[in-house]
Amino acid sequence: MKNQSQCIFSFLLLLGLAACSKPKSTTPVGDSKQLTVGAAFETLQTEYWVAGFEAVRTELKSRNINMLEAIADGDPNRQFQQVKNFITRKVDGIILVPKDAKTCIPMIRAANDAQIPIVLFNRPADRSDVQSTAIVADNRKLTRETVSYMIDQARKMGTKHKAMVVLGDLGDINAIGRRDGFEDAIKGNEDVIEVAARVPSEWNQEKAQAGVANGLQANPGIDFIFTSSDFLLPSITSALKAAGRYRRTGDAGHVILGGFDGDATAYRMLVEGYLDATGVQDVYFEAQASVQALLDRRNGKPVNELILDPGFVIHQGNLKERSSRMWGAQVKK
């Protein structure tokens, strides 16, 4: 027992002594060597993040820049450690996908202190004293445009529609932006759309499937569904099939369906005629802009704190023209 106490105490004491000593500061790296960038993603759980990760890797490779990778699996504490690891390894820049807008601020501060440029991919930080550049899709605007297109389709039919919105994890700023964009689009169109169900998914496919199935059972008249992410489309499809409501555009009983992201499932469903529209985040633009912003910051050039990915709405009417820029269409190939 005495040994146990000594063991715990000795270890913690050693750690304490180490903690009291200041780590060596990082030194600036010369331009002659190959650059190394650390990419710290919060998750790779959906196709979008995998596509974004690969787009960043491809962009860095095309510029002969080495990439270190770290995925935090949704844990901001782990991500902080990973960012500090990058700093310890004296990377030339960091591309970060944070868990949220607040917990990333100490990470950005740590990079700022080490004079390592840092760019936030797809998720911005809140206003604070730290310096970074964020490349983000305008979630609210793009959702508003997508849902507005869907409302136009509903209006053309001349009947009032009952709507369902599948919400994301409301701890995620992107999910909040998409929820707000949906509500913006509905406002003023209550003569055509009545929101009958708001289904929380917490970015979980099983919860989405159960929620949509329950919603369809409770409100059989629902004929308008918007999902906050395309990765939930298989769950919605499954629930619609079970209810005998999965029909192509133009067919009687078709449920007007829209999404956000532009993944491979959405592309296939657009081609097959089951999906009406989706808001596409331009992953390639975001990856290219992230790396460019990082290099510009490193070279001391002025860079905006926010670079907006305009994105675009892809729908049955413009599928052919826009699919070459839809990342889901490229993944499908």
């Binding site: 146990q4 105490f9 913690l12 750690l15 304490g16 782990r78 902080f80 917990t103 909040i176």
Partner: protein, 334 residues
Amino acid sequence: MNPSQGITSTTVGPAKGRFVSLLRGLPFSEYFVLLLTLALFLSLAPFAPGLASGSNILNTASYLLPLFVAAVGMTVVMITGGIDLSITSIIALASVTGAKVMTTHGDALHTVLGIFIMLSLGVALGALNGAMVALLRLPAFMVTLASMMFLSGFAIWSTQSKNIYDLPASFLALGKELPIALSIVMVLALGAHLFLRRTVYGHWLYAVGQNSMAARISGVPVAGVVIGAYMASGFCAALASVILTGRLETGSPVLGREILLDIVGATVVGGTSLFGGRGKIAWTLFGVLFLALLDNALNLLNLSQFAITIAKGLVILLAAVLDSARQRFSRGAL
């Protein structure tokens, strides 16, 4: 018997025999995970860039402190044969509650009040879990799973998903300044260790975990012991929340959501039994160290997260198998 054989058996044989028996017994040694951690560190240090550097060790220490604090609480509950799945939700709810109180005024009084409320909330929620397990005889898994869902939903609803920022600097120092965080953790760990090993209540915890019926017949107040264990777990979760909230400078309704597997995993890998009656704070420290080192080293080797997750899953599975083998070994079935 050939004399030479006899000589061999008395000179070389026992030494060799002792070595073989030492090796056989190694997986059952209480220092096995610590030795494994050292072996992992030494074997990967030449290949994982920066693994042995001072700053990496400090980074890893900062990362593992809140995990260790939460795992201390889990250890106490597991010793009684229970499990507390609500730890991460208590972390989140304590985080936003404390942050709300502290940001209302931002003075020293509200900082202290915020911390006090965070810790009290943890203890109260732990007491509620414990009461349902001990008095209503509900399975710990179900009770704490339900608590986890309810508290998590409540934390998100109460903040409308909004994180809380601009916390007082004196509070942030509790998580950001490693010497301060470490001092807090040292006091907790040593206190918990001495409490488990040197107090009657500590011995009661083991007795309840080994056989609650026998403990009750022997006069142990089982319900009180179980409730106390969950209160301790709630307190540890709230303390982990203080450190995490300070470290990340944010009161977040989803704080700690993803670390439940690491908390349970580290406790089990350390050697605390899933079946109750067995566990030590030192073992949990070894388990946390091992998982944190594994995560850190594989990451520095630039392996993908998929590979890291698979490796961690396998290690936790092996630990569970070893725990089961230990149980059978202790019953003489091996």
